[in-house]
């Protein structure tokens, strides 16, 4: 048990080390980070001095070591545009992104798990077809288009909900629906197929044969086993949601990390981009570590591996 946790923790640390290297390497993709950071009209003299000042002339791994040391202390350098610490700029926007991703995930779970269960229990009925078609559409619909269509309908046409900004619950509805639909569709389909598989198992037949009535069979016997893959995908879907927030926040002018990063890329403000990518990836790794720990309680077989 303890060895499993220690191993899992070590793995996460290795992944984070890899993440930090990739984030560092983004700036070195073209071979000359000075040219990436400076405006195109910088004079050769400026470029030379900038390279000197930033330490870009040092050996590659010395530069990485310096970056890693900074990252561990939450120091990604100054934002080129805002002149303040890139880390603080990103950290300030984190709550908004978590609020949006959390709301989207909550919405997805509340809708998809019952929908998936009903779909499986009432297989091949109108309800099942309806939920399957909606899930398929949801999985095929690009987030940004859905967002624009929702704005067109609920903000432009009927003036029911605000199309941008953050503050009240009304502001949260459209972005959360937009961001959450894909995840809702994914989990619905997964819950349905998981439940169908479990409901066909021998122990379910045994339970029914013993005279257990339908609701407890579904909720106690089947769901508990169908829940295992759902828990895993929740962790992975969080990555989808954090990535999707880049687009959703841009559409709804939601003041989170995603929108900040898109603006930072447009402004070539790479310290901010690096801090954002690093912090979102770290969030993903930490959440998945927690999910794995929950997982071992649901499925003790994992611990023995």
């Amino acid at each position: 048990m303890t060895t499993y946790f220690v191993r899992r923790l070590l793995q996460s640390l290795i992944v984070l080390l890899g993440v930090s290297f990739v984030v560092f390497f983004i700036l070195h993709l073209t071979g000359d980070p000075a040219l990436v950071l400076l405006p195109p009209d910088a004079s050769p003299e400026d470029v030379r001095r900038f390279r000197e000042a930033m330490g870009f002339n040092d050996p590659f791994f010395v530069q990485y070591g310096r970056f890693l040391g900074g990252a561990l202390r939450g120091d990604f350098g100054q934002s080129i545009r805002h002149g303040e610490s890139a880390f603080h700029l990103v950290a300030e926007r984190m709550p908004a992104t978590f609020e949006l991703a959390g709301a989207a995930l909550l919405l997805a779970l509340v809708l998809s798990i019952p929908a998936g269960i009903i779909s499986a229990v009432r297989r091949n009925t109108a309800l099942d077809y309806f939920s399957t078609v909606v899930a398929l559409l949801g999985q095929s619909m690009p987030t940004f288009w859905l967002g624009i269509m929702l704005i067109l309908l609920f903000s432009v046409q009927f003036h029911l909900l605000p199309s941008s900004g953050r503050g009240t619950l009304e502001h949260l509805i459209l972005p959360a629906v937009t961001l959450g639909l894909f995840t809702t569709a994914r989990i619905t389909r997964l819950t349905r197929s998981g439940m169908l598989e479990v409901l066909g198992q021998d122990y379910i037949r045994t339970a029914r044969a013993k005279g257990v009535s339908n609701p407890p069979v579904v909720w106690k016997h089947a769901l508990k086993n169908a829940a295992i893959p759902i828990v895993t995908i929740v962790g992975i879907e969080l990555g989808t949601l954090l990535g999707g927030s880049v687009i959703t926040e841009t559409i709804f002018a939601w003041p989170g990390v995603g929108r900040l990063s898109v603006q930072a890329i447009a402004n070539r403000d790479y310290p901010v981009v690096q801090a954002a990518v690093f912090l979102l990836a770290t969030t993903f790794v930490v959440v998945n570590l927690l999910v794995d720990i929950i997982y071992t309680y649901l499925d003790p077989r994992i611990r023995l591996r």
């Binding site: 073209t30 559409l137 619909m141 690009p142 940004f144 067109l152 992975i236 990555g239 687009i247 990836a281």
Partner: protein, 303 residues
């Protein structure tokens, strides 16, 4: 009892193969949703290939006179029809939607080819040889998955500068994990199967066993993943174009058209509606086809 030589002769393999294909196609076509998906994808591919022939207008020809922001089915002065209307520069929307299929499909096919091959190699090596290689590759997969995909993609494209090649390479190189995991899983179970053990016992070297016996059997799940992943790649290409980091204007892309449409959302709803529908229909078709492919080839596959 003597058996006529003809009866024990090996069957004519090419014909057997063909029949197997026909049986497979018939089973696939028997699924109405898969057939529908296949038709949709076929139409989109043909339209993209024949774009100059089927498009009513030049997709980048502007008409800044009185042809700006015309609603769908508007007839211009020459009596010609703009079935889906025109955009803010007087360009025909239908022509742009038709030509927009080209970058979408091109990026889809090319990026899937790159990531599919990378993932196939990683999965084969990881599953077959196991050990240290497996540890390293799976850790790399975890690192890859830790990144919010779109954010990493736009950061890299922002540094390299947007172009068709950059998008293809960036999406292709960073999408290998699904393939690697599915292939690895398949190889792990194949490795223990009798026919692979037998091939090895008969003295088959690693490369022979891997390519002759293992590889053909992992292509099925690989193909299903590739099909479904293509749907994802097309959405990502549109998302990148939407953010201005895809194929650059004036060449039409569905995402770029959506970005324009967003600006005119209060006055011209058609601008954002039709390119989005084009993405939805294409992706839906691919998803239906991919689901059908999976259910026909291997219903137990979890992708």
């Amino acid at each position: 009892m003597s058996v006529p030589a003809a009866a024990i002769a090996l069957p004519d393999t090419p014909r057997e193969d063909r029949r197997e294909w026909l049986v497979f196609l018939r089973r696939l076509a028997a699924r109405r949703t898969a057939l529908f998906g296949m038709l949709v994808v076929g139409i989109v591919v043909l339209t993209a290939l024949a774009a100059p022939l089927v498009s009513p207008f030049d997709p980048i020809a502007q008409d800044l006179g009185d042809q700006r922001l015309k609603p769908p089915a508007w007839r211009d002065a020459g009596g010609r029809l703009h079935p889906l209307g025109t955009d803010h520069l007087g360009r025909d929307l239908l022509a742009r939607v038709i030509f927009g299929a080209r970058p979408a499909l091109l990026v889809g096919f090319a990026a899937v080819a790159i990531s599919g091959i990378l993932g196939l190699i990683a999965g084969l090596v990881s599953g077959y040889f196991g050990g240290r290689m497996d540890d390293i590759l799976m850790r790399l997969a975890d690192i890859q998955l830790a990144f919010p995909f779109i954010l990493l993609a736009i950061a890299v494209i922002g540094v390299l500068g947007p172009s068709l090649t950059t998008i293809i390479v960036v999406i292709g190189v960073s999408s290998w994990v699904v393939y690697a995991r599915i292939v690895r899983g398949a190889v792990l179970s194949l490795r223990e199967r009798e026919f692979v053990q037998a091939a090895r016992a008969l003295g088959g070297g690693d490369s022979r066993v891997l390519f002759r016996h293992v590889l053909p059997n992992v292509l099925t799940p690989w193909l299903v993943v590739a099909t479904l992943d293509m749907a994802r790649v097309i959405v990502i290409e549109s998302a990148l174009s939407f953010l201005g980091l895809g194929v650059q204007p004036p060449d039409p892309t569905w995402g770029g058209m959506l970005a324009d449409g967003r600006v005119y959302i209060t006055t011209a709803w058609w601008l954002a509606t039709f390119p989005g529908l084009a993405i939805l229909v294409t992706v839906l078709g691919i998803n239906l086809f991919g689901d059908g492919l999976r259910d026909t080839l291997d219903p137990r596959l979890k992708v």
